[in-house]
Symmetry: C2
Subunit: 118 residues, 2 copies
DNA sequence: TCACTATACATCGATTTTCGAGGTATTCGG
DNA sequence: CCGAATACCTCGAAAATCGATGTATAGTGA
């Protein structure tokens, strides 16, 4: 919703600590979000390709003996810069939404009282 | 990104403290978010209509003398319930994304050091 | 007066995102 | 052998976003 290119930011974040292949990135986002974020492969792979076209990640094919090779992604310096920028934007966005929605729950009355009812 | 029906949650939130007409809702979201959230009318009106179809808001036309009448929206009990549920989901979602992205910047090295490098 | 901006409602269509379903190929457990 | 997991990928429907356009009125400034 409204926060553009959010997936790309998460993808770049997943690569911050080292190169990974696509499937591993998807699992990582899933695991580290406590199953909250579950991106399908049909979202992951095209987004990764877009990142590559923009030069935000670089890729190499790693041969696996026996099985088909894996495509490994690494974040580039431009990718890191974009990640920082996107992270700042995310925090701005998320602060704005959170303040409009209010901290979980709080009927109207409860909320005003919590604020010292002014 | 990825957080479904986010606009609807914000629309419901805007009505928490009393009925408003569509245009005023748009301005409210804009103002109270510090210009961070800027929804166009082509997003607001259809979303409001969808909310009405779902019984989450009720509407009435308020005649203005001279000018065309305004459509005023009020949140219903079902709308309040949905807002609470959506707010909880937002917080889960936003916590997950924030923890993956990290608190605004921090290069990889800086970040580990900040955590006591462990 | 004329133009422009703001208020206030709304739709349309192009673009972008999301997501389920499919397709290929290999390995491993039962 | 079958199903699940790994690993890559595309397609197409559905949903969301966004700019343009249309109607109508009121107010501001040139």
């Amino acid at each position: 919703m409204v926060f553009r290119n959010g997936l790309e930011a998460l993808l770049l974040a997943a690569l911050r600590e080292g190169p990974l292949h696509g499937y591993a990135i998807a699992q990582r986002l899933r695991r580290e979000s406590g199953e909250v974020l579950r991106f399908g492969e049909s979202q992951i792979y095209p987004a990764l390709h877009a990142l590559e076209r923009q030069g935000l990640v670089s890729t190499s094919w790693e041969p696996q003996d026996g099985r088909p090779p894996r495509r490994v992604y690494a974040i580039t310096p431009q990718g890191s810069a974009r990640l920082e920028q996107q992270t700042r934007e995310w925090h701005r966005f998320s602060r704005a939404v959170s303040s409009l929605l209010g901290s979980s729950e709080t009927s109207d009355r409860t909320r005003k009282e919590a604020l010292g009812h002014a």
